[in-house]
């Protein structure tokens, strides 16, 4: 290994000579700067190689020809090497992005940049407590210089505050270090840690001072206003260095002094870190300015990393490997994502207006596709979505905490993570959808719906550094995942598909469609051996559905950029949910699905709010699921059934799934997500993706349903939740003017029936559930595909703006007709089978009132279904829609296929029911059985084939009579009818289909005041208010910040004394 001292020598020599070199021109001197930073990175890489692959052990280096205790020692071990790499990496990215300001400012800027990074590296390497102080000061003082180097007004203000806090911290450190020397007799860390004097009594206090200084430097809540101001105002490159490199160095410094710490110290670190994580994220929730928001996120993340290291020591979470993985993973994730995002915020051009630069104008507009991908990767990583390091770290952390039964810590960490996800993704949505300018001006993003789509922002060279950070995140995430033995290629297939399709995003849509279908087919082929009966059924809906929607996506011409990669990724993610064999693998697949579907929703036109609530609820549900999974040992291990000891965690899993399924109460994300995404994506979400939740619920209930606490009551409650979902879904649907909203609410209602049927928990109930799920897939696909065609042809989603399309789009009409007959459960189509099964199993179970309510709900469904078909296809044609044509083949072909399938399974119910009953029969004693073509329950019977024959026969009879008796009718046109109305102010009010069910609303409207929305809005307001209250701490006054720092230290001291 290279002696790191040479790097210090080289850096200092470069820095010292820089003013002279600068005489040769700024290009030369900047090249020297980059070369110096790169040298650190290269050496760090060589260290890592030697330590991890060449099998060389950690090594210590003496200075001045002596060794400890006389001389200062440097140590190169794995964490040091990684830290050096992180610092130089961030430094290089930031320095690259800062090329222009560095070139324009005096050479002092470049000099302090070198010394800052060298100082941080020294913090990482040294094993001497006082030498650590020297490097802390090199880093701090260089940072003070860097903050001000390009003379931003705000940065100057912030820099002074930064200095005040840094000054107090260094005084604390000095006091600490000298007394550590006094009580231990050493300045060398390892020797001091071995000395007895530091543990107990005054030694503890001495170590406390040392620790307090490091904690203050790590920006704990509430003593971190100074840092956040600096993040906000400094050059984004400097902010990136502060947030990424400096935090890495300081965390490693904390890591280094850990051996000196006693229990009380560790508790202080953990408590302070967690409080910072929670408070930082809450304060960030209110933040509209991008960089300040990133600042809050930074302090929060660093707090979490610090807490993790301390928690491991306190609770024994898993030792060194655990800390490397979790703290290291979180840190890596944080520093790359934050570096990327800070630099991205600079490339977008926000805040530049504050300097009067012309670049401020660039802030208006949406990101270019490439920029959007980069931003998406960075934000997704920050939020902890797969496959990035934060995801793996979060899982391992939660798993370890669950092993120690620290439920409150889990709740705190996940709650704060959710808040963080909320504001980070809000920002992502804003910049991707074109509100970057609004945010740059410090306002919360509001753009009137219907405003012209702003121009695309092309990042140009500014995208390089963020893109590199994003690439590093991807690579490290994949490596970490592999390391945690998530190495099943099928689990990674979604990302591969997305990457390949993104790469050819400019290719024509049909090509990408075909590739997507091929991908789904290949996935199914490869996974076939691992699919049991149940999984095969779901594979039809998930993979088959995905492929079908990929096909349908051809209905709009053009490249449809971004759609196919996301659709394909979501499809394959659904597939990987089916094949996952470990809890982690499953959760990975689940979160991948969440991510892909979120982006799919985001692609919609007016989908900002919808996408945000979709992902927040999606993540919230996923977190519940995750806690449930880690809390049950052996959950999701293949073939685990009826594991004892699974108690309340099962409820968490169920709750998470109910959120995902949009059960009443947690349904507020649903209408927006289903309505605002692209039309075929809506269909995919509603008919395919929602089945993933059903699938997991089936598996979870199959494994744990019998050992649930209070089994009967729990199931009854679950049933009522499903029932309420069904009823309210239908009730909400009938008042919608927006066709897709109608379908969205309808989906919610239909899923409600599935939940209800699952709760019945016997063979009849589960047969019902799976039958309903498959049927819902069939007819909801038909509806969404047909409606996609309609919307494409008429260009609106408001039903009252349509009418009489039966003559223009007869095939779509037929498809919708079949679908609504099936959906409403009218015999002889297969929907009736679902109704019959549902009522039979409910009555058999003895759930009579439930049966009555279900009957009511399904009657209500008639209302919206009739309205749907009537308003669109019947009634008066609109003159403006005279030229409408039938939907494109890409939509009608799948509909035709689905119709054939629908008829087949209606006439021959055993086609569908036999496989279902075979699957269900493995878990339950039979209640239902077939006698010939008749399905027999203890209460009654249903012969689908015979009823189909009778119906067809009767229908044919009547039809013949009608034809035989038809006497030369005269077909009349639209206006051959009496109209007597004047044109009022709002034209839609004259449309008979507007406010179609006014009397109904008068009678039962009180049921449909959206209480769910109000509740969640209140939760949101609450979080917002808490965040608002927290951030009032940050008054902007440097002295108040100083007071915070001192009070923080005092409070920590007193608390530690109390412990």
């Amino acid at each position: 290994m290279v002696n790191p001292l040479y790097l210090f020598a080289a850096s200092l020599a470069a820095a010292f000579l820089l003013p002279l070199v600068d005489k040769l021109g700024r290009r030369v001197s900047l090249a020297l700067v980059y070369a110096t930073i790169a040298a650190w990175g290269a050496v760090a890489l060589s260290y890592l190689w030697a330590l991890l692959y060449a099998g060389v052990g950690a090594r210590a280096f003496g200075t001045a020809g002596f060794v400890a205790p006389l001389a200062i020692m440097l140590r190169v071990g794995p964490e040091e090497a990684a830290g050096l790499l992180a610092i130089s990496g961030v430094g290089l990215l930031a320095a690259g992005a800062m090329r222009r300001p560095l070139a324009e400012a005096p050479i002092g800027g470049a000099m302090t940049l070198i010394t800052a990074l060298m100082g941080m590296s020294g913090i990482v390497l040294t094993r001497d407590l006082f030498n650590l102080f020297v490097f802390l000061e090199i880093a701090s003082i260089s940072t003070y210089g860097l903050i001000a180097f390009d003379d931003r007004r705000g940065a100057l203000r912030a820099g002074f505050k930064y200095m005040i806090a840094g000054g107090i911290a260094s005084a604390l450190y000095l006091i600490g270090v000298i007394y550590v020397y006094r009580f231990s007799g050493h300045l060398n860390l390892d020797m001091a840690a071995a000395a007895p004097g530091l543990f107990g009594g005054a030694g503890t206090i001495a170590v406390f001072f040392l620790l307090a200084a490091l904690l203050v430097e790590l920006k704990p809540f509430p003593a971190n206003g100074w840092a956040i101001d600096a993040y906000q105002t400094a050059d984004p490159g400097v902010s990136a260095i502060l947030s990424g490199a400096s935090a890495t160095a300081l965390l490693l410094a904390l890591w280094k002094v850990m051996p000196l710490l006693g229990e009380a110290h560790l508790a202080a670190v953990a408590g302070s870190g967690l409080a910072t994580f929670a408070a930082g994220n809450l304060a960030g929730a209110r933040q509209g300015r991008a960089r300040r928001m990133l600042g809050y996120s930074s302090v929060a993340q660093v707090g979490l990393v610090a807490a993790v290291a301390a928690l491991d020591r306190l609770l024994g979470l898993g030792g060194l490997r655990f800390t490397y993985l979790v703290a290291g993973g979180l840190l890596l994730n944080h520093l790359l994502a934050k570096t990327g995002l800070f630099l991205l915020s600079s490339a977008i051009g926000d805040d530049e207006a504050a300097r009067g630069g012309a670049a401020g104008k660039r802030g208006e507009g949406a990101l270019s596709p490439f920029g959007a991908v980069v931003a998406g990767v960075l934000a997704a990583a920050l939020v902890g979505l797969p496959p990035f390091p934060g995801f793996w770290a979060k899982w391992t952390l939660i798993q370890a905490l669950a092993g120690r039964e620290s439920w409150w810590l889990i709740a705190l960490i996940l709650g704060a993570s959710l808040v963080e996800a909320f504001y980070v993704l809000r920002w992502l949505i804003a910049i991707v959808k074109g509100e970057a300018g609004a945010l740059a001006k410090g306002e919360r993003g509001t753009i009137e719906p219907g405003a012209p789509i702003p121009a695309r922002i092309r990042l140009g060279a500014g995208a390089l550094a963020p893109a590199l950070a994003a690439a590093a995140l991807v690579v490290s995430g994949v490596m970490l995942g592999w390391n945690l033995s998530v190495s099943d290629p099928l689990l990674w297939a979604p990302f591969a598909a997305a990457a390949i399709l993104f790469a050819i995003d400019r290719a024509p849509g049909w090509l990408k469609s075909l590739l997507s279908i091929a991908a789904a087919a290949a996935f199914g082929w490869l996974a076939y051996d691992r699919l049991d009966g149940l999984r095969q059924l779901f594979a039809i809906m998930l993979l088959g559905g995905g492929a079908m929607y990929s096909f349908a996506a051809m209905y709009k011409g053009g490249a449809r950029r971004g759609l196919h990669p996301l659709l394909s990724a979501a499809t394959l993610a659904l597939g990987s949910v089916l094949v996952a064999e470990t809890p982690l693998g499953f959760f990975f697949a689940w979160e991948t699905m969440t991510l892909a579907s979120f982006l799919l929703v985001l692609r919609g036109r007016e989908s900002r709010a919808a996408a945000l609530s979709y992902i927040v609820f999606g993540l919230g549900g996923a977190f519940l699921l995750m806690v449930g999974l880690v809390a049950i040992p052996g959950a999701w291990s293949s073939g685990s059934t009826g594991s004892a000891g699974a108690g309340w965690p099962v409820f968490l899993i169920l709750a998470g799934l109910l959120v995902k399924l949009g059960a009443l109460g947690a349904h507020v994300w649903l209408p927006g997500a289903y309505a605002e995404s692209d039309d075929e994506a809506s269909g995919f979400l509603s008919s395919s993706l929602s089945k993933a939740g059903v699938f997991v619920m089936v598996v979870a209930l199959a494994a744990f349903g019998r050992v649930l606490p209070f089994q009967a009551t729990s199931m009854r409650i679950l049933g009522w939740i499903g029932l309420a979902t069904a009823l309210f879904g239908a009730l909400y649907a009938i008042y919608q003017e927006d066709i897709k909203k109608t379908l969205a609410w309808s989906s919610m209602g239909q899923i409600g029936y599935v939940i209800l049927a699952l709760a019945i928990y016997d063979q009849a109930g589960w047969t019902t559930a799976l039958y309903l799920a498959l049927n819902h897939f069939l007819y909801k696909s038909m509806l969404f595909l047909a409606i996609a065609g309609v919307i494409q042809r008429v260009g609106t989603r408001n039903m009252y703006e349509m009418g009489g399309l039966i003559k223009k789009m007869p095939f779509s009409f037929l498809s919708v007709l079949m679908a609504i007959i099936a959906l409403s459960g009218v015999p002889p189509l297969s929907g009736f089978g679902g109704k019959w099964l549902l009522y039979s199993s409910l009555l058999e179970k003895g759930w009579y009132i439930e049966a009555a309510v279900a009957f009511f709900a399904s009657a209500v469904a008639f209302l919206y279904l009739f309205r749907l078909i009537h308003t669109i296809f019947l009634g008066q044609p609109k003159p403006s829609q005279a030229m409408v044509r039938e939907a494109p083949l890409a939509l009608t072909i799948p509909q035709g296929l689905l119709m054939v399938v629908l008829f087949a399974v209606s006439a021959f119910p055993r086609l569908m029911l036999d496989p279902i009953m075979r699957v269900v029969g493995e878990a339950f004693d039979p209640v239902l059985r077939f006698e010939g073509s008749a399905l027999v329950s203890p209460l009654g019977y249903w012969d689908g084939t015979l009823s189909m024959i009778v119906t067809i026969a009767v229908f044919a009879l009547c039809f013949l009579w009608m034809i035989a008796n038809l006497h030369n009718p005269q077909t009349v046109k639209q206006f051959n009818i009496v109209y007597a109305a004047e044109r009022p102010f709002r034209p839609e009010t004259t449309h008979y289909a507007w406010n179609f069910y006014a009397p109904y609303e008068k009678a039962l409207g009180f049921l449909t005041r959206h209480r769910g929305e109000r509740f969640w809005a209140a939760v949101g307001t609450g979080v917002d208010a808490v965040g608002g209250a927290i951030r009032r701490v940050y008054t902007g006054n440097g002295q108040t910040y100083a007071l915070h720092v001192v009070l923080y230290v005092v409070a920590l001291y007193l608390l530690m004394g109390a412990l």
């Binding site: 102080f133 002074f160 200095m163 107090i168 005084a171 008054t1035």
Partner: protein, 126 residues
């Protein structure tokens, strides 16, 4: 232990250093003038330096320099602890650097027309 014994145990250098630290800290938190804050930091640093020195102090011994008072053979028996003295040298220089930068900031801020009170530089907040 009576009061006299307690007093005898007090390290006078440390005590005065600690008081200076508190005074400096008070100045940092209570005096809004930018330049006074810089001065308060100097006071605090001086206090810290005194505290550092106090640790090396041993009653009745000589400075750690070989001269007539102490030769190489009796060095460890007759000299004070040299380590804090070496450390304080570094600490002083670093303190100097901080003071210099802080004053530069103050000069630069004042030249920007914002006055010398820290209260007028609180634009970044919340």
């Amino acid at each position: 232990m009576n009061a006299l014994e307690v007093l005898a145990k007090i390290n006078p250098v440390a005590a005065s250093g600690a008081v200076l630290v508190l005074v400096g800290l008070w100045g940092v938190m209570a005096k809004p003038n930018l330049f006074k804050i810089a001065v308060a930091f100097s006071v605090m640093e001086t206090g810290v330096n005194l505290v550092i020195l106090s640790v090396g102090y041993i009653r009745g011994r000589t400075a750690p320099i070989l001269d007539s008072a102490a030769d190489a053979a009796s060095a460890s028996a007759r000299m004070t602890d040299p380590v804090p003295q070496a450390l304080v040298l570094t600490a002083i220089v670093i303190g100097l650097a901080v003071t210099a930068l802080m004053l530069s900031y103050a000069v630069r801020l004042k030249a920007g027309g914002g006055g010398s009170s820290i209260e007028s530089y609180g634009e970044e907040k919340w």
